[in-house]
Structures are given as structure tokens and as C-alpha cells.
């Protein structure tokens, strides 16, 4: 069974569209994260939720909105997609905030 899963794995869309990426973890962890990995492989944290509460919100455009319906899920909704949003987005989870993070397989977003 996959510990941290994301859907979809690939997402190709036009500029200006709105899209969502879903993430689920079955590890029973309290904390979940979203990262963006650019073409140079640099990983940057975007958001972190602990027990469904937002605890990290990096300098991310407010077109990006995370939603955590429960501890096992953290979805990422992106409005008005731009070319610069093209990247691989990773979801991760950890037992508690600051602990070892387990990553999902990533979602490659391509904005045309």
C-alpha cells in the first residue's frame, strides 16, 4: 500500500485554468506538507498543516490554496494558473511537526 499518494501524477493545462491536486496519507501522521520542485530540482516548502491547522505558509501567491478536510488529506487548489507554476509538486507527511517527512510520488504540472 502506498503511504503517501497523490493524484493526478501528470497534469497538463492551459494558462488561466483552475486545478486541484489531491494528497492522502495512510500513515496516521499529524502533519502534512506541500513542496514545489523546480526544473533544477530545488525543493521549496509551500505549506504545512498540523492536525488540520495551517502552520507554515511560505511566500506563495494566494492563487494557491491548501485545504485539509481531515488529518489524512491535504489538497492543493491553484487558481488562474500561470506558466511559472509549471513544476513538480510533492506532498509529504510526518508523525509530528519537525519529524522525518515521507514524500508522495509527485504531480508534474505543465501549464501551456
Amino acid at each position: 500500500d502506498t503511504a503517501v499518494s497523490q493524484t493526478p501524477k501528470y497534469l497538463v493545462t492551459q494558462m488561466g485554468n483552475d486545478k486541484s491536486i489531491k494528497c492522502e496519507q495512510n500513515l496516521g501522521h499529524d502533519t502534512m506538507y506541500w513542496y514545489k520542485q523546480d526544473s533544477k530540482k530545488f525543493l521549496k516548502i509551500m505549506f504545512s498543516y498540523n492536525n488540520k491547522e495551517l502552520i507554515i505558509n511560505e511566500t506563495v501567491p494566494n492563487r494557491f490554496s491548501p485545504k485539509s478536510p481531515d488529518k489524512a488529506h491535504l489538497n492543493l487548489h491553484i487558481n488562474s494558473l500561470e506558466l511559472g507554476d509549471s513544476a513538480v509538486y510533492f506532498c509529504a507527511s510526518s508523525q509530528d511537526f519537525g519529524g522525518v517527512q515521507f514524500f508522495g510520488p509527485g504531480t508534474r504540472l505543465t501549464v501551456l
Binding site: K40, K41, L43, I45, F97, Q101, P105, G106
Partner: protein
């Protein structure tokens, strides 16, 4: 702000040789460090971690060394295998900085048969 410094160089290693991947960090308040391995098309995978009260930790074929004096972290892989080909990231965490994990830029390891 301070961050872990590791641009994306490439390390070519002969199969069977030992690999050493280096990482410099600048936040002296960092107290927890993790090495991740990312294979092509996959998410980062935890390899080994070390806390700042230690200077060495060993796992299966991997050893992490921490030198707090010069703010340097290294990952040693013994008897490198083709399956070790990947991008390796070091990451630092600091409770004082809000427990946010900061990743370095990664090193690509290519294992030659």
C-alpha cells in the same frame, strides 16, 4: 535567510567504490539533519538522519558525518551499486527557526558499471 548550500553537481562513481556526498549548511542553530534520495520520477526517500548532539551515525551501507565546527554534513555510501544512482539531498531543521525543513540543492550520483 540562511539555507543549506548544495548546488546540483554530479558525482560519477565506479560500481563497487565508495561515494561521498558533501553538504554545507549556514544555520548554526540547526539541530537535526536528514539525507534524502530521489530517484528519477519519484519523490524523495528518507535515507538517514542525525541530531546535532552526534557527529556520526551509521545505517546499512550509509554513514552520515556531522561537523558542527565547520557546519558540514556528509553522506558516505559504501560499495556503491547501480541502484544508488539518484539525486541526494541534505536537509536541515531548526527548532529555533520554527521546525521548518530546509533542503539543499541536491547532488546527482551516477554509478558507472
Amino acid at each position: 535567510g540562511e539555507n543549506v548550500g548544495l548546488h546540483l553537481p554530479t558525482l560519477s562513481v565506479q560500481e563497487g567504490d565508495n561515494s561521498i556526498i558533501n553538504c554545507a549548511y549556514s544555520n548554526s542553530a540547526s539541530d537535526y539533519f536528514i539525507w534524502y534520495k530521489q530517484e528519477s520520477g519519484k519523490g524523495p526517500q528518507f535515507i538517514i538522519d542525525i541530531r546535532s548532539n552526534m557527529d556520526k551515525r551509521q545505517g546499512q551501507r550509509v554513514t552520515v558525518l556531522l561537523n558542527k565546527t565547520v557546519k558540514h554534513l556528509s553522506l558516505q555510501i559504501a560499495a556503491t551499486q547501480p541502484g544508488d544512482s539518484a539525486v541526494y539531498f541534505c536537509a536541515e531543521n531548526s527548532r529555533a527557526a520554527g521546525n521548518k525543513l530546509t533542503f539543499g540543492g541536491g547532488t546527482r550520483v551516477l554509478v558507472k558499471p
